[in-house]
């Protein structure tokens, strides 16, 4: 694996707390000394937040399709509308 990919892997280990405490301490010191590393960590965190957002969005889209399909079922549709027509 090339050097930059090793760094991506190392940042992941830091973000997800998979580093031994001493390595973590050293990594934090490196972030202080190398602002570009700190910036990469920030961006990689943001990437993970974005990935979770994408996955949740897809799950909600799937649930919306399921809702639309179930609302075409007369029994289900009637049950749901009866609740909100009160």
């Amino acid at each position: 694996m090339r050097k930059s990919l090793h760094e991506v892997q190392e940042i992941d280990r830091y973000i997800f707390h998979r580093m031994p405490p001493t390595d973590r301490l050293v990594f934090r010191a490196r972030m202080i000394l190398q602002p570009e590393l700190k910036e990469k960590v920030r961006l990689q965190r943001k990437t993970h937040v974005f990935l979770r957002w994408c996955s949740r969005k897809e799950k909600k889209d799937e649930l919306t399709s399921l809702y639309t399909r179930l609302m075409n079922d007369t029994t289900f549709h009637t049950t749901i509308h009866a609740i909100f027509s009160r």
Partner: protein
Amino acid sequence: MNHEDQNLEKLYRDAFPHIARLLHSLGADLDAARDLFHDAMVIYLEKKRDNCLPVHVSPRQYLAGIARILWFKQCKHERRQTDIRFVEDSLPAEEAVDPEKKSLLLYKYLKVAGNACLQLLQAFYYEKLSMPAIAGKFHYGSAHSATVQKYKCLEKLREKIKQTEIYEEVIA
């Protein structure tokens, strides 16, 4: 329809009427109840994936608890937004930055330009599949090849997010 989809539909059929009734009694309309139910379902499915669901609570009870919390959280947020809007009315108008909209634009771009990478990253980081399972699903020769590809994809996406930030700074 696979087994997982069947279970999801069964749970939806069973739980949604119950939770819709609960949320309606708290003041929600059908659209709000559906959206909150979907949010609760996402939380439930994530907890189930991580084996973190409480043992003695049924899925329906769990979903009802989450939906109720989300409803109160939403009411509180809306009240705060109303207060903020009242203050903002007296300030000069500025274009609002909507993070949801920005994420959606990037998501749509990636679905076209980098869907394979996006799927691989989601399989590992969200679905929490093992690397051998991912290698099988995405037809990689070995778990090691899939791991290397995963880091390449993560680096690529990180770079894309950086570019998006730079672009936003330029147009701001």
